[in-house]
Subunit: 207 residues, 2 copies
DNA sequence: GGCAGAAGTCAACAATCGTTGGCATATCGT
DNA sequence: ACGATATGCCAACGATTGTTGACTTCTGCC
């Protein structure tokens, strides 16, 4: 609403149609807000991460957050945009798929705080939970579908994989269970890979 | 503070020392508040579950909640008291421990909404997260210690078990991932039992 | 150099929250 | 029947929240 007033929406149709825009002076502020928002959402979740705190981190006025992102809900929506960036696993030996997937997930988790933020918020915020479901359905589930033998089994196998991987993310990065935090990543990969491998490839009930 | 005013603290020292108290008329109200609190905390998490909403569910005034439980934090603390009630697994055949543990957890989850409430809240509330860590350390970890061969490995194995079981709870009861919700409990037990069994008993890295 | 518009600050709004004190009613021992 | 005490409701406080509008300052173009 009042969209024409927003600086971001400024410019004629010709400029918009050009696609490439000259960088605005405010782009740095925008990025600072987004960075602070991701950290706060990751650390505190949606409700406890206040716009005032985010603005303080970004060293600007709380009103700027609203002016640039419309509302807290929209800010979270853009802060929680997340691409798993799953690599192409088509040339991985079928018996090493579990290990490849597990080790990739660890690198992805530790380079980007968006996923912990999403996980923390999804527990209480319905739209964040919906976002997680989308990521699962659009990214993990479709990728798993290309790896399994029977396509009809794909959603079920993907869900099992998600239960183990999100469980690790929950206990290690959100709840911070001491034993889980202390296990070296390499050991964790060794333990988890057979599990994921079995969920992906094994016949049901096989050990 | 102002403890003497609270009805619950009433009575002479002699009465308190008697231990067994005659049931008060307000006990029903107390129980109704606690029941409503558990449901609200489970559904909405700590922040979004307002005292006013809990009071409305219990059909009493919000001020009664405070009078009976002191504060929202204390109310949550008593609402989130949780005993895993892990059964004695000492006479279960060692190769069936995984199946026994997994199937027990499903019955426990579905009969009591306290655990989902705790899980939902622990993502954003530090004291709830601490409570989960306590339950893990005092109940699951000690139980696992009696089942594994090498006691030094117990915390690590318990953490792995927790990662899988809490991952299922998260995806099925909190995030409600469609495939995870749809899988029949029996199938889920079939899939998960070998995983937990391996975490409990297998040598590291064994498939 | 002046001016249009962007960038940022400030103060305040309305809503909601946990919490409190005062006051009415109900219950029960005597 | 009476009084003490438990139980409950009502209204309000103070704090915090997201959000808004008016105002000032800065930047870049003619």
């Amino acid at each position: 609403m009042t969209e024409g007033v927003l600086p971001e929406a400024g410019g004629s149709d010709a400029e918009s149609a050009a696609g490439v825009q000259r960088p605005r002076r405010s782009d740095a502020t925008r990025a600072a807000i987004l960075r602070a928002a991701r950290e706060r959402f990751a650390a505190d979740g949606y409700d406890r991460a206040t716009i005032r705190a985010i603005a303080a981190d970004a060293r600007i006025d709380p009103s700027m957050v609203i002016r640039y992102y419309g509302s807290k809900e929209e800010l979270f929506a853009t802060a929680a945009e997340f691409d798993l960036r799953l690599p192409d696993l088509s040339d991985v030996p079928p018996d090493r798929l579990g290990a490849a997937l597990v080790s990739y997930f660890f690198t992805r988790w530790e380079e980007d705080s968006t996923l912990p933020a999403l996980l923390r918020t999804a527990s209480t915020n319905p739209s964040a939970a919906e976002r997680v479901r989308e990521i699962f359905a659009n990214q993990l589930s479709t990728a798993v579908a290309r790896l399994v033998a029977d396509p009809a089994e794909a959603p079920r196998r993907a869900a099992l994989v998600a239960s183990q991987l999100l469980g690790v993310a929950l206990t290690r990065y959100v709840l911070r269970l001491p034993p889980m935090v202390d296990i070296p990543t390499a050991d964790l990969i060794t333990w988890l890979s057979p599990t994921v491998q079995r969920y992906l490839r094994a016949a049901p009930g096989t050990d």
